[in-house]
């Protein structure tokens, strides 16, 4: 469904056919050979670059890496996209995500957690594909669907489960909850309840990285930030404002759109004038890439390129991952609007089974190894539930802690002392 201006080759984009959502053509073959990465040739000046944009001829350029890969894969059939260790690591991470989310659902229906809980089933390839390529100092910013992002980044399952149960041992001491997962140690900057409000925060983290490099002269600072958000967010002003600023200042950030087609009950096609989100990148001067988000290996390839770009200081990338959530928007969502045929179609493309199939077919690992990983993850998740169950609830004194980094912000009381110096203040018996 290319328009007159853009006649760029990209993988077949079945979702642009508006009439029927159900008649989805199967996407390209599992291996990522048909993926083209579009980006601006680095040698052009700004002026030349904007000229290119206005031309109506296709400006797609294929990344050198991909050219090489294509040639390699054409010549030798034994070059694989992943090694055994990486494959098992990726598999383990995706199974952890899936298993954890299933356990969350169980716990929710047993009354152990409350409120809004948004599960990530089906989208694991995106989280694992991107986050497993990051270093510890790189930052991740997410939305309310953030359990698996936190887990992939390295936050222990125990801490995430405790946080969901609202216990003091949670990663945010029970004060954040499902939608606000933070970890300073692992550089998870949240966890935001309103869509779009995390994107500027991610832009700020990327700005700090650039600032450290250029203003503070820490020459080796190449921290990258990933901002994850959904298709609904791509109609929000903050998204566009940040695309502009990130491209303007060449911030080391990757904008990852998890396009799962639905914003609660609003279909992406019903709410967006041009549903192809990747196209919005070049409008701001950054590459826009579309990738099959149900295939972790393809996501990983694109992620490598995008993160590499950011690390080299070449600026941001917009990556649209076509993915799907197997469950409803949240555990309170009856999920009646979505067509069962659509759900079945994507269930057949489950990223975990697909990766397993690929690895077995290419003799990277045996069934037994996968079973061992499954068992290990089961134990980890069950242990996290036990830990969370046994952890204490927050005490009254925790209510007023952490409101201010400097608690003098509570002010000077009538007796002339700072309120926070009153021992009864944090016991919860002082009147605020």
């Amino acid at each position: 469904m290319a328009t007159a201006f853009w006649s760029v080759n990209v993988i077949q984009h079945p979702r642009c056919e508006r009439p029927s959502i159900a008649s989805r053509k199967p996407s390209s073959a599992f291996l990522g050979s048909t993926l083209k990465l579009r980006f601006n040739p680095p040698s052009r000046s700004n002026f030349g670059f904007s000229e290119t944009l206005r031309k109506s001829s296709p400006i797609s350029a294929i990344s050198d890496v991909f050219e090489e890969k294509k040639q390699k894969s054409a010549s030798s059939s034994s070059s694989l996209l992943i090694t055994k260790e990486e494959g098992l690591e990726v598999y383990e991470d995706m199974v952890l995500g899936r298993c954890f989310e299933d356990m969350c659902a169980q716990m929710y229906y047993r009354g152990k957690m409350f409120g809004f809980v948004h599960l990530y089933n089906g989208q694991e390839a995106v989280s694992t594909g991107f986050i497993k390529l990051l270093k510890k100092e790189d930052c991740v910013v997410s939305t309310y669907r953030d359990h698996v992002h936190a887990l992939s980044k390295g936050v222990p399952a125990r801490e995430v489960m405790s946080e969901l149960f609202g216990k003091t041992t949670g990663c945010c001491r029970g004060q954040g909850g499902s939608m606000h997962m933070f970890s300073k140690e692992h550089n998870v900057l949240g966890g935001f309840a309103f869509i779009g409000e995390g994107i500027p925060v991610a832009t700020g983290a990327a700005f700090t990285s650039k600032y450290r490099k250029e203003a503070l002269n820490e020459a080796d600072c190449d921290h990258v930030t990933l901002a994850f958000f959904g298709d609904g967010t791509c109609n929000n002003g903050q998204f566009y404002e940040c695309l502009n600023m990130a491209a303007l200042w060449k911030l080391p950030i990757v904008f990852v759109v998890e396009n799962n087609l639905w914003a609660i009950g609003m279909s992406h096609l019903r709410s967006t004038s041009d549903p192809e989100i990747w196209k919005k990148g070049p409008a701001f001067g950054m590459p826009g890439v579309h990738v099959d988000g149900m295939d972790v290996l393809k996501v990983r390839e694109v992620a490598k390129e995008a993160i590499g770009r950011a690390r080299r200081g070449e600026g941001p990338t917009l990556v649209e991952c076509e993915t799907y959530r197997f469950r409803g928007h949240s555990l309170a969502d009856p999920d009646e609007l979505r067509d069962p045929a659509e759900k079945a179609h994507y269930a057949a493309r489950d990223p975990i089974t697909a990766l397993k199939k690929y690895m077995i077919e290419n003799n990277l690992a045996k069934e037994g190894e996968f079973k061992a990983i499954d068992k290990k993850i089961d134990e980890i998740v069950e242990d996290s539930v036990e830990f969370a169950d046994e952890s204490p609830q927050p005490s009254r004194s925790q209510l007023l802690e952490n409101v201010f980094a400097d608690p003098k912000g509570f002010g000077i009381g009538p007796d002339g002392r700072y309120r926070c110096e009153d021992p009864k203040f944090t016991e919860g018996t002082a009147h605020v």
Binding site: K184, F194, I199, P200, T203, Q238, C242
Partner: protein, 406 residues
């Protein structure tokens, strides 16, 4: 030497026009003891805030910092008075520049702060000195660049975000309310957000309704932020520095009409306390609480009141959130009558909160109901006459005092 000070002090007790009285020096902020080099003799008796009825801890700081005089050296130099004179926006700039020199992580973000020098010239010259990255000209996207400032603060920088006009920060309300105030709490204390959000607000000279907004009332409920309002060059510089050094997110309210106030401020470095109120004029009959521009309307009314035989105590509350209940309380206990004069709207304004706080805490000390003079609940009209009637004028203050003191 002490005698000279004494004489000066007595004569210059009333400061109506914002000119600086060197004997009204403020105490160094507790947290900045290592930096402040206070070298004036500190007068205890004159300052109610720093007076003898202080709890021991403050007095201790006083004594330890009182060093023998600079006055001798000053009189020997060519300047007739110590310190240097400047306008309020220059004081803000000085504070900002000193902090940027001191800590390379302090950076400025805002519209036209860099090459243009700031629409009110607060950041003039800073981009040349510190570069385009440290004084960042942003596109017109308040929500996004305020959020960017918050993200930068979470990851280690200390940004100062400028709203070209406070009213524009309404566009950043999502970020200020949800992220700025809350993230320290929802992250369980893991991330701190040492951001300063500043800008000029208030009713100006016929700027129209949307450029004349007072956002302090809208922001005051947000948990986790502190709000301060500056009113003189002296406290502008001090509060700017304190806000930047604070680990909490601070919103610094400036006023469009006060940028050209001139005052003599000390040469030495000083940082004020964010949570303290300022005693402008000690008195006996009535406590008048005010902040920002209304301070000057109050002082003008005070002249008339003094001529009529009243002795008003004027306190510039400065800290809009949290309130300095100690200074206010001491004053209420002394005078038993309170008048609040503010530029906020009547409904849900700072005055409303202050009235509630005083009633809750000091009800027994009041001889009359608290009176609150605020702006009319009206979008500020363009016409000059109408605009004058929306804000509180000195004549109304005089009438109110007379009414309360009957």
């Amino acid at each position: 030497m002490a005698a000279t000070f004494q004489g000066l002090g007595a004569a210059a007790a009333l400061s109506l026009s914002g000119s600086f009285d060197p004997n009204r020096l403020h105490l160094p902020c507790r947290r900045s003891l290592s930096v402040t080099r206070l070298s004036f003799v500190v007068r205890l008796e004159e300052r109610i805030v720093s007076g003898s009825n202080l709890p021991p801890r403050r007095a201790q700081q006083l004594v330890s910092k009182a060093v023998a005089t600079k006055a001798d050296a000053a009189s020997a130099s060519t300047a007739s008075k110590p310190g240097h004179e400047l306008l309020l926006f220059e004081a803000l700039r000085e504070g900002l520049e000193e902090e940027m020199d001191r800590d390379p992580q302090v950076c400025v973000m805002g519209e036209d702060v860099g090459h243009y020098g700031g629409s009110y010239k607060v950041t003039k010259g800073l981009a040349d000195k510190f570069g385009d990255l440290r004084v960042l000209d942003t596109p017109i996207a308040e929500n996004a660049f305020t959020g960017m400032g918050i993200g930068a603060a979470m990851t280690g920088l200390r940004p100062v975000v400028e709203g070209m006009n406070m009213g524009f920060l309404l566009l950043a309300f999502n970020q200020i309310s949800n992220n700025c105030g809350m993230l320290h709490y929802t992250s369980g204390g893991q991330f701190k957000i040492p951001i300063v959000i500043r800008g000029p607000g208030g009713v100006g000279r016929q700027l129209g309704a949307e450029h004349s907004q007072r956002l302090e009332s809208y922001f005051q409920s947000i948990p986790g932020i502190q709000m301060v309002a500056c009113s003189t060059p002296y406290n502008a510089k001090g509060l700017m520095k304190a806000a930047i050094r604070s680990e909490n997110p601070v919103i610094l309210f400036e006023h469009v009409l006060l940028y050209n106030l001139k005052e003599r401020i000390p040469d030495e470095e000083y940082v004020l306390n964010l949570e303290e109120a300022e005693m402008v004029r000690p008195g006996e009959h009535i406590t008048i609480l005010t902040y920002s521009r209304m301070r000057y309307h109050v002082m003008q009314a005070a002249k008339t009141l003094v001529n009529k035989g009243y002795d008003p105590e004027v306190i510039d509350i400065r800290s809009l959130k949290p309130f300095d209940l100690y200074t206010i309380g001491n004053s209420v206990k002394k005078t038993h009558r309170v008048l609040i004069v503010e530029e906020c709207m009547r409904t849900g304004g700072i005055g409303a909160s202050l009235t509630a706080a005083i009633t809750e805490n000091f009800h027994d000390y009041l001889d009359a109901p608290i009176m609150c003079l605020s702006s009319q609940d009206v979008p500020t009209p363009y016409a000059g006459t109408l605009e004058n009637w929306t804000v509180v004028q000195p004549a109304q203050i005089v009438t109110a005092v007379e009414q309360l003191c009957q």
